[in-house]
Symmetry: C2
Subunit: 241 residues, 2 copies
Protein backbone atom coordinates (compact mmCIF):
# COMPACT_ATOMS: atom_id res chain seq x y z
CA UNK A 1 0.00 0.00 0.00
CA UNK A 2 1.35 3.39 -0.95
CA UNK A 3 2.15 5.77 1.88
CA UNK A 4 -0.41 8.46 2.39
CA UNK A 5 0.86 12.03 2.20
CA UNK A 6 1.27 13.85 5.52
CA UNK A 7 -0.75 16.76 6.88
CA UNK A 8 0.44 19.32 9.44
CA UNK A 9 -1.05 22.49 10.85
CA UNK A 10 1.11 25.54 11.58
CA UNK A 11 -0.74 27.57 14.22
CA UNK A 12 1.20 30.80 13.67
CA UNK A 13 3.60 32.28 11.09
CA UNK A 14 6.21 32.09 13.87
CA UNK A 15 5.93 28.28 13.73
CA UNK A 16 6.01 27.88 9.94
CA UNK A 17 9.77 27.25 9.95
CA UNK A 18 9.13 23.92 11.73
CA UNK A 19 7.57 22.39 8.62
CA UNK A 20 9.04 21.29 5.30
CA UNK A 21 7.15 23.24 2.66
CA UNK A 22 9.26 22.29 -0.32
CA UNK A 23 7.23 19.16 -1.07
CA UNK A 24 3.94 20.49 0.24
CA UNK A 25 0.79 22.25 -0.77
CA UNK A 26 0.58 25.20 1.65
CA UNK A 27 -2.86 26.56 2.45
CA UNK A 28 -2.77 30.21 3.53
CA UNK A 29 -5.56 30.71 6.09
CA UNK A 30 -6.62 34.18 7.23
CA UNK A 31 -10.32 33.74 7.94
CA UNK A 32 -10.92 37.30 9.26
CA UNK A 33 -10.70 38.41 6.49
CA UNK A 34 -8.00 38.23 3.83
CA UNK A 35 -8.54 34.73 2.49
CA UNK A 36 -12.33 35.07 2.72
CA UNK A 37 -12.04 38.25 0.66
CA UNK A 38 -9.75 36.50 -1.82
CA UNK A 39 -12.35 33.74 -2.29
CA UNK A 40 -15.13 36.29 -2.69
CA UNK A 41 -13.21 38.43 -5.20
CA UNK A 42 -12.21 35.49 -7.41
CA UNK A 43 -15.65 33.87 -7.12
CA UNK A 44 -17.16 37.11 -8.35
CA UNK A 45 -15.10 37.02 -11.50
CA UNK A 46 -11.95 39.02 -10.86
CA UNK A 47 -9.11 38.13 -13.24
CA UNK A 48 -6.50 37.95 -10.49
CA UNK A 49 -5.38 39.16 -7.07
CA UNK A 50 -1.83 40.37 -6.62
CA UNK A 51 -0.81 40.13 -2.96
CA UNK A 52 1.82 42.69 -1.90
CA UNK A 53 3.42 43.46 1.42
CA UNK A 54 3.00 47.24 1.67
CA UNK A 55 0.50 49.97 0.97
CA UNK A 56 3.07 51.85 -1.13
CA UNK A 57 3.60 48.81 -3.30
CA UNK A 58 -0.14 48.26 -3.65
CA UNK A 59 -0.52 51.82 -4.97
CA UNK A 60 2.48 51.53 -7.26
CA UNK A 61 1.52 48.17 -8.79
CA UNK A 62 -2.11 49.14 -9.25
CA UNK A 63 -1.12 52.32 -11.12
CA UNK A 64 1.29 50.45 -13.37
CA UNK A 65 -1.23 47.86 -14.51
CA UNK A 66 -4.52 49.69 -14.09
CA UNK A 67 -5.72 47.57 -11.20
CA UNK A 68 -7.62 48.32 -8.01
CA UNK A 69 -5.49 48.85 -4.91
CA UNK A 70 -6.94 47.56 -1.66
CA UNK A 71 -5.74 46.74 1.79
CA UNK A 72 -6.14 46.76 5.49
CA UNK A 73 -3.99 47.56 8.48
CA UNK A 74 -5.14 46.72 12.00
CA UNK A 75 -8.63 45.86 10.81
CA UNK A 76 -9.50 48.98 8.76
CA UNK A 77 -8.89 50.32 5.25
CA UNK A 78 -5.23 51.23 5.07
CA UNK A 79 -4.38 54.94 4.86
CA UNK A 80 -3.95 55.95 1.23
CA UNK A 81 -6.24 53.25 -0.14
CA UNK A 82 -9.89 53.45 -1.16
CA UNK A 83 -10.81 49.82 -0.81
CA UNK A 84 -10.36 47.52 2.14
CA UNK A 85 -10.35 43.90 3.15
CA UNK A 86 -14.09 43.19 3.32
CA UNK A 87 -15.40 40.24 1.30
CA UNK A 88 -18.65 42.22 0.87
CA UNK A 89 -16.96 45.15 -0.86
CA UNK A 90 -16.47 43.22 -4.07
CA UNK A 91 -19.74 42.21 -5.78
CA UNK A 92 -19.59 40.85 -9.32
CA UNK A 93 -20.91 44.16 -10.74
CA UNK A 94 -17.80 45.87 -9.41
CA UNK A 95 -14.96 43.36 -9.59
CA UNK A 96 -15.67 41.14 -12.63
CA UNK A 97 -12.72 41.06 -15.06
CA UNK A 98 -10.69 43.41 -12.88
CA UNK A 99 -7.42 42.82 -11.06
CA UNK A 100 -7.08 43.56 -7.34
CA UNK A 101 -3.79 44.44 -5.65
CA UNK A 102 -4.18 43.50 -1.99
CA UNK A 103 -2.13 44.08 1.16
CA UNK A 104 -3.22 42.86 4.62
CA UNK A 105 -1.79 42.64 8.13
CA UNK A 106 -1.26 38.90 8.35
CA UNK A 107 -2.33 36.90 5.30
CA UNK A 108 -0.11 38.47 2.65
CA UNK A 109 2.87 38.29 4.99
CA UNK A 110 2.35 34.56 5.55
CA UNK A 111 2.09 34.00 1.80
CA UNK A 112 5.44 35.74 1.34
CA UNK A 113 6.95 33.52 4.03
CA UNK A 114 5.69 30.40 2.24
CA UNK A 115 7.26 31.67 -0.98
CA UNK A 116 10.56 32.33 0.78
CA UNK A 117 10.50 28.77 2.09
CA UNK A 118 10.03 27.37 -1.42
CA UNK A 119 6.55 25.96 -0.97
CA UNK A 120 5.73 23.53 -3.77
CA UNK A 121 2.21 24.92 -4.25
CA UNK A 122 0.37 27.77 -2.53
CA UNK A 123 -3.40 28.12 -2.33
CA UNK A 124 -5.62 30.16 -0.04
CA UNK A 125 -8.43 28.81 2.10
CA UNK A 126 -11.41 30.08 4.07
CA UNK A 127 -14.88 28.87 4.99
CA UNK A 128 -16.45 30.38 1.84
CA UNK A 129 -14.28 28.10 -0.30
CA UNK A 130 -13.91 25.14 2.09
CA UNK A 131 -14.98 22.39 -0.29
CA UNK A 132 -12.90 23.70 -3.20
CA UNK A 133 -9.84 23.58 -0.92
CA UNK A 134 -10.59 20.07 0.33
CA UNK A 135 -11.21 18.72 -3.18
CA UNK A 136 -7.92 20.17 -4.41
CA UNK A 137 -5.89 18.81 -1.47
CA UNK A 138 -7.28 15.31 -1.96
CA UNK A 139 -6.71 15.38 -5.73
CA UNK A 140 -3.10 16.57 -5.48
CA UNK A 141 -1.97 13.65 -3.28
CA UNK A 142 0.91 15.76 -1.92
CA UNK A 143 1.88 16.60 1.64
CA UNK A 144 -0.15 19.45 3.13
CA UNK A 145 0.68 22.27 5.53
CA UNK A 146 -2.31 24.25 6.77
CA UNK A 147 -0.82 27.67 7.53
CA UNK A 148 -2.76 29.80 9.99
CA UNK A 149 -2.00 33.50 9.60
CA UNK A 150 -2.92 34.38 13.17
CA UNK A 151 -2.69 37.95 14.40
CA UNK A 152 0.81 39.43 14.47
CA UNK A 153 2.22 35.97 15.16
CA UNK A 154 -0.29 35.21 17.90
CA UNK A 155 -2.49 32.14 17.63
CA UNK A 156 -6.08 32.81 16.70
CA UNK A 157 -9.08 30.57 16.86
CA UNK A 158 -10.84 31.36 13.59
CA UNK A 159 -7.93 30.19 11.43
CA UNK A 160 -7.58 27.08 13.57
CA UNK A 161 -11.30 26.34 13.28
CA UNK A 162 -10.99 26.45 9.51
CA UNK A 163 -7.97 24.14 9.61
CA UNK A 164 -10.11 21.80 11.70
CA UNK A 165 -12.93 21.93 9.16
CA UNK A 166 -10.50 20.91 6.41
CA UNK A 167 -9.00 18.10 8.49
CA UNK A 168 -12.43 16.74 9.35
CA UNK A 169 -13.27 16.44 5.66
CA UNK A 170 -10.02 14.99 4.32
CA UNK A 171 -8.25 13.23 7.18
CA UNK A 172 -8.76 9.73 5.81
CA UNK A 173 -6.57 10.59 2.83
CA UNK A 174 -3.60 11.72 4.94
CA UNK A 175 -1.22 10.48 7.60
CA UNK A 176 -1.56 12.87 10.52
CA UNK A 177 0.85 12.81 13.48
CA UNK A 178 0.46 16.41 14.57
CA UNK A 179 -1.07 17.66 17.80
CA UNK A 180 -1.93 21.00 16.19
CA UNK A 181 -4.09 19.17 13.65
CA UNK A 182 -5.65 16.95 16.31
CA UNK A 183 -6.49 20.01 18.40
CA UNK A 184 -7.86 21.91 15.38
CA UNK A 185 -10.16 19.07 14.42
CA UNK A 186 -11.30 18.53 18.01
CA UNK A 187 -12.14 22.18 18.62
CA UNK A 188 -13.89 22.47 15.26
CA UNK A 189 -15.96 19.37 16.03
CA UNK A 190 -16.98 20.97 19.32
CA UNK A 191 -18.06 24.29 17.81
CA UNK A 192 -19.06 23.53 14.21
CA UNK A 193 -22.79 23.79 14.84
CA UNK A 194 -22.48 27.09 16.69
CA UNK A 195 -19.62 28.98 15.02
CA UNK A 196 -21.56 32.25 15.06
CA UNK A 197 -22.46 31.84 18.72
CA UNK A 198 -18.82 31.06 19.58
CA UNK A 199 -17.44 33.97 17.55
CA UNK A 200 -18.11 36.73 20.09
CA UNK A 201 -15.52 35.15 22.38
CA UNK A 202 -12.72 35.52 19.83
CA UNK A 203 -10.24 38.37 20.22
CA UNK A 204 -10.54 39.23 16.54
CA UNK A 205 -14.31 39.50 16.84
CA UNK A 206 -13.86 42.29 19.36
CA UNK A 207 -11.53 44.05 16.96
CA UNK A 208 -13.84 43.78 13.94
CA UNK A 209 -17.31 44.01 15.43
CA UNK A 210 -17.00 46.16 18.52
CA UNK A 211 -14.61 48.63 16.90
CA UNK A 212 -15.74 48.55 13.28
CA UNK A 213 -19.26 47.04 13.31
CA UNK A 214 -18.39 44.36 10.79
CA UNK A 215 -20.89 41.70 11.86
CA UNK A 216 -21.95 40.94 8.28
CA UNK A 217 -18.31 40.31 7.39
CA UNK A 218 -18.05 37.85 10.27
CA UNK A 219 -21.14 35.97 9.11
CA UNK A 220 -19.80 35.70 5.57
CA UNK A 221 -16.38 34.58 6.81
CA UNK A 222 -17.85 31.78 8.94
CA UNK A 223 -20.30 30.38 6.35
CA UNK A 224 -19.00 27.45 4.29
CA UNK A 225 -19.10 27.18 0.53
CA UNK A 226 -20.67 30.45 -0.54
CA UNK A 227 -17.72 31.27 -2.86
CA UNK A 228 -16.39 27.90 -3.88
CA UNK A 229 -13.40 28.78 -5.96
CA UNK A 230 -9.78 27.65 -5.62
CA UNK A 231 -7.29 30.55 -5.39
CA UNK A 232 -3.96 29.23 -6.69
CA UNK A 233 -0.77 31.28 -6.54
CA UNK A 234 0.97 31.36 -9.93
CA UNK A 235 3.65 33.81 -11.03
CA UNK A 236 2.92 36.44 -8.37
CA UNK A 237 -0.86 36.25 -8.68
CA UNK A 238 -3.74 34.41 -7.10
CA UNK A 239 -6.04 33.15 -9.84
CA UNK A 240 -9.09 30.91 -9.84
CA UNK A 241 -7.96 27.43 -10.82
Amino acid sequence: MAHKPTLHTSLSPALLHLYDLSNSVVVIIDVFRATSTIASVLFNGAKAIIPVDSVAKAIEVSKNIGAIAAGERDGKIADGLQYGNSPLEYPRTFIENKTLVLTTTNGTRLLQMALDKNADTIISGSFPNLTAVCDFLVSEKKNVVLGCAGWKDRFNLEDTLFAGAVIRQIKKEFEIHCDSSLMAESIYAKHKHNLLDFAPQLTHYHRLVERFGLIEDIKFCLTPDTANVLPLYVDGKLIAK
Copy 2:
Protein backbone atom coordinates in the same frame (compact mmCIF):
# COMPACT_ATOMS: atom_id res chain seq x y z
CA MET B 1 -12.99 48.49 40.85
CA ALA B 2 -9.36 47.51 40.49
CA HIS B 3 -8.29 46.04 37.18
CA LYS B 4 -7.87 42.32 37.21
CA PRO B 5 -4.46 41.00 36.22
CA THR B 6 -4.19 39.52 32.72
CA LEU B 7 -3.64 35.89 31.76
CA HIS B 8 -2.11 34.67 28.49
CA THR B 9 -1.10 31.25 27.21
CA SER B 10 2.04 30.76 25.13
CA LEU B 11 1.51 27.59 23.09
CA SER B 12 5.19 27.07 22.21
CA PRO B 13 8.59 28.40 23.31
CA ALA B 14 8.76 29.94 19.81
CA LEU B 15 5.83 32.19 20.77
CA LEU B 16 7.07 33.22 24.23
CA HIS B 17 8.62 36.44 22.87
CA LEU B 18 5.10 37.76 22.14
CA TYR B 19 4.36 38.15 25.84
CA ASP B 20 5.63 40.57 28.47
CA LEU B 21 7.11 38.42 31.20
CA SER B 22 8.72 41.17 33.24
CA ASN B 23 5.57 41.80 35.29
CA SER B 24 4.28 38.26 35.17
CA VAL B 25 4.28 34.97 36.98
CA VAL B 26 5.40 32.48 34.32
CA VAL B 27 4.25 28.88 34.71
CA ILE B 28 6.59 26.41 33.02
CA ILE B 29 4.44 23.54 31.71
CA ASP B 30 5.99 20.30 30.44
CA VAL B 31 3.39 17.69 31.34
CA PHE B 32 5.21 14.73 29.72
CA ARG B 33 7.25 14.69 31.90
CA ALA B 34 9.61 17.33 33.27
CA THR B 35 7.24 19.42 35.36
CA SER B 36 5.35 16.34 36.58
CA THR B 37 8.68 14.91 37.71
CA ILE B 38 9.59 18.21 39.38
CA ALA B 39 6.32 18.12 41.34
CA SER B 40 6.89 14.49 42.32
CA VAL B 41 10.49 15.04 43.40
CA LEU B 42 9.72 18.07 45.57
CA PHE B 43 6.55 16.51 46.97
CA ASN B 44 8.63 13.52 48.05
CA GLY B 45 10.90 15.73 50.09
CA ALA B 46 13.85 16.66 47.89
CA LYS B 47 15.64 19.78 49.07
CA ALA B 48 15.85 21.34 45.61
CA ILE B 49 16.00 20.75 41.86
CA ILE B 50 18.65 22.51 39.83
CA PRO B 51 17.57 22.73 36.18
CA VAL B 52 20.49 22.86 33.73
CA ASP B 53 20.61 22.92 29.95
CA SER B 54 23.10 20.15 29.18
CA VAL B 55 24.07 16.66 30.28
CA ALA B 56 27.68 17.76 30.79
CA LYS B 57 26.54 20.52 33.10
CA ALA B 58 24.26 18.14 34.99
CA ILE B 59 27.22 15.84 35.66
CA GLU B 60 29.54 18.70 36.61
CA VAL B 61 27.13 20.42 38.98
CA SER B 62 26.06 17.18 40.63
CA LYS B 63 29.69 16.26 41.33
CA ASN B 64 30.49 19.67 42.77
CA ILE B 65 27.65 19.67 45.27
CA GLY B 66 27.08 15.95 45.83
CA ALA B 67 23.70 15.89 44.12
CA ILE B 68 21.98 13.37 41.85
CA ALA B 69 22.31 14.03 38.13
CA ALA B 70 19.26 13.17 36.02
CA GLY B 71 17.96 13.94 32.61
CA GLU B 72 16.29 12.95 29.41
CA ARG B 73 16.90 13.43 25.72
CA ASP B 74 14.26 12.44 23.17
CA GLY B 75 12.21 10.63 25.78
CA LYS B 76 14.85 8.38 27.38
CA ILE B 77 17.58 8.64 30.05
CA ALA B 78 20.31 10.81 28.59
CA ASP B 79 23.59 9.11 27.74
CA GLY B 80 26.00 9.48 30.66
CA LEU B 81 23.29 9.77 33.31
CA GLN B 82 21.90 7.11 35.63
CA TYR B 83 18.53 8.68 36.36
CA GLY B 84 15.90 9.92 33.95
CA ASN B 85 12.83 12.07 33.74
CA SER B 86 10.21 9.73 35.16
CA PRO B 87 8.11 11.00 38.08
CA LEU B 88 7.99 7.42 39.35
CA GLU B 89 11.77 7.12 39.69
CA TYR B 90 11.85 9.34 42.76
CA PRO B 91 10.01 7.86 45.77
CA ARG B 92 10.48 9.49 49.15
CA THR B 93 12.77 6.68 50.31
CA PHE B 94 15.20 7.65 47.57
CA ILE B 95 14.93 11.40 47.10
CA GLU B 96 14.10 12.89 50.52
CA ASN B 97 16.58 15.56 51.59
CA LYS B 98 18.58 15.18 48.39
CA THR B 99 19.19 17.64 45.55
CA LEU B 100 18.47 16.71 41.94
CA VAL B 101 20.24 18.28 38.97
CA LEU B 102 17.89 17.90 35.99
CA THR B 103 18.19 18.45 32.25
CA THR B 104 15.32 17.77 29.80
CA THR B 105 14.56 18.29 26.10
CA ASN B 106 11.97 21.04 26.41
CA GLY B 107 11.11 22.09 29.96
CA THR B 108 14.51 23.26 31.17
CA ARG B 109 15.06 25.16 27.90
CA LEU B 110 11.79 27.05 28.35
CA LEU B 111 12.73 27.92 31.92
CA GLN B 112 15.99 29.39 30.69
CA MET B 113 14.09 31.44 28.09
CA ALA B 114 11.80 32.83 30.79
CA LEU B 115 14.86 33.79 32.83
CA ASP B 116 16.42 35.49 29.83
CA LYS B 117 13.24 37.49 29.34
CA ASN B 118 13.33 38.68 32.96
CA ALA B 119 10.23 36.93 34.20
CA ASP B 120 9.07 38.39 37.50
CA THR B 121 8.40 34.98 39.05
CA ILE B 122 8.85 31.46 37.67
CA ILE B 123 7.00 28.38 38.91
CA SER B 124 6.41 24.99 37.34
CA GLY B 125 3.04 23.37 36.78
CA SER B 126 1.60 19.95 35.95
CA PHE B 127 -1.53 17.96 36.72
CA PRO B 128 -0.01 16.43 39.88
CA ASN B 129 0.30 19.93 41.38
CA LEU B 130 -2.64 21.63 39.65
CA THR B 131 -4.32 23.05 42.74
CA ALA B 132 -1.09 24.31 44.27
CA VAL B 133 -0.42 26.24 41.05
CA CYS B 134 -3.94 27.68 40.90
CA ASP B 135 -3.89 28.76 44.54
CA PHE B 136 -0.54 30.51 44.08
CA LEU B 137 -1.61 32.35 40.90
CA VAL B 138 -4.78 33.63 42.55
CA SER B 139 -2.94 34.73 45.71
CA GLU B 140 -0.19 36.62 43.84
CA LYS B 141 -2.63 38.90 41.96
CA LYS B 142 -0.04 39.45 39.21
CA ASN B 143 -0.28 38.95 35.44
CA VAL B 144 0.15 35.32 34.39
CA VAL B 145 1.75 33.69 31.36
CA LEU B 146 1.13 29.96 31.05
CA GLY B 147 4.17 28.74 29.12
CA CYS B 148 3.74 25.46 27.28
CA ALA B 149 7.06 23.74 26.62
CA GLY B 150 5.78 21.80 23.60
CA TRP B 151 8.12 19.46 21.72
CA LYS B 152 11.07 21.09 20.01
CA ASP B 153 9.01 24.23 19.48
CA ARG B 154 6.00 22.32 18.17
CA PHE B 155 2.63 22.72 19.85
CA ASN B 156 1.57 19.78 21.97
CA LEU B 157 -1.80 18.96 23.42
CA GLU B 158 -0.88 17.76 26.90
CA ASP B 159 0.67 21.08 27.93
CA THR B 160 -2.30 22.94 26.45
CA LEU B 161 -4.74 20.70 28.32
CA PHE B 162 -3.00 21.57 31.57
CA ALA B 163 -3.14 25.28 30.73
CA GLY B 164 -6.86 24.78 30.14
CA ALA B 165 -7.27 23.09 33.51
CA VAL B 166 -5.64 26.07 35.23
CA ILE B 167 -7.74 28.58 33.29
CA ARG B 168 -10.94 26.74 34.13
CA GLN B 169 -10.17 27.01 37.85
CA ILE B 170 -8.96 30.61 38.04
CA LYS B 171 -10.43 32.52 35.10
CA LYS B 172 -12.78 34.63 37.20
CA GLU B 173 -9.80 36.29 38.86
CA PHE B 174 -8.18 37.37 35.57
CA GLU B 175 -8.86 39.43 32.48
CA ILE B 176 -8.40 37.07 29.53
CA HIS B 177 -8.32 38.35 25.94
CA CYS B 178 -6.27 35.56 24.43
CA ASP B 179 -7.44 33.01 21.88
CA SER B 180 -4.79 30.54 23.03
CA SER B 181 -6.32 30.58 26.51
CA LEU B 182 -9.85 30.34 25.16
CA MET B 183 -8.85 27.36 23.04
CA ALA B 184 -7.00 25.69 25.92
CA GLU B 185 -9.98 25.99 28.22
CA SER B 186 -12.39 24.80 25.57
CA ILE B 187 -10.38 21.72 24.65
CA TYR B 188 -9.78 20.88 28.30
CA ALA B 189 -13.51 21.17 29.01
CA LYS B 190 -14.16 18.75 26.14
CA HIS B 191 -11.69 16.11 27.29
CA LYS B 192 -11.37 16.54 31.06
CA HIS B 193 -13.44 13.49 31.90
CA ASN B 194 -11.54 11.25 29.50
CA LEU B 195 -7.94 12.47 29.54
CA LEU B 196 -6.56 8.94 29.63
CA ASP B 197 -8.80 7.84 26.77
CA PHE B 198 -7.76 10.88 24.71
CA ALA B 199 -4.05 10.44 25.45
CA PRO B 200 -3.35 7.67 22.90
CA GLN B 201 -4.05 10.18 20.12
CA LEU B 202 -1.25 12.52 21.27
CA THR B 203 2.06 12.46 19.37
CA HIS B 204 3.98 12.38 22.65
CA TYR B 205 2.02 9.34 23.81
CA HIS B 206 3.35 7.40 20.84
CA ARG B 207 6.86 8.48 21.74
CA LEU B 208 6.59 7.52 25.41
CA VAL B 209 4.32 4.50 25.40
CA GLU B 210 4.87 2.76 22.08
CA ARG B 211 8.63 3.26 22.14
CA PHE B 212 9.39 3.18 25.85
CA GLY B 213 6.35 1.51 27.49
CA LEU B 214 5.81 4.36 29.94
CA ILE B 215 2.07 3.99 30.45
CA GLU B 216 2.34 4.35 34.25
CA ASP B 217 4.18 7.64 33.73
CA ILE B 218 1.37 8.87 31.49
CA LYS B 219 -1.25 8.00 34.10
CA PHE B 220 0.68 9.83 36.82
CA CYS B 221 1.20 12.86 34.58
CA LEU B 222 -2.52 13.17 33.77
CA THR B 223 -3.87 12.72 37.30
CA PRO B 224 -4.53 15.95 39.23
CA ASP B 225 -3.31 16.76 42.69
CA THR B 226 -1.29 13.71 43.67
CA ALA B 227 1.81 15.81 44.42
CA ASN B 228 0.42 19.16 45.47
CA VAL B 229 3.51 21.21 46.00
CA LEU B 230 4.49 24.57 44.48
CA PRO B 231 7.91 24.52 42.75
CA LEU B 232 9.23 28.09 42.86
CA TYR B 233 12.42 29.11 41.06
CA VAL B 234 14.75 31.01 43.41
CA ASP B 235 18.47 31.65 42.89
CA GLY B 236 18.95 28.92 40.29
CA LYS B 237 16.92 26.27 42.10
CA LEU B 238 13.37 25.01 42.16
CA ILE B 239 12.27 24.64 45.74
CA ALA B 240 8.95 23.79 47.37
CA LYS B 241 7.35 27.04 48.49
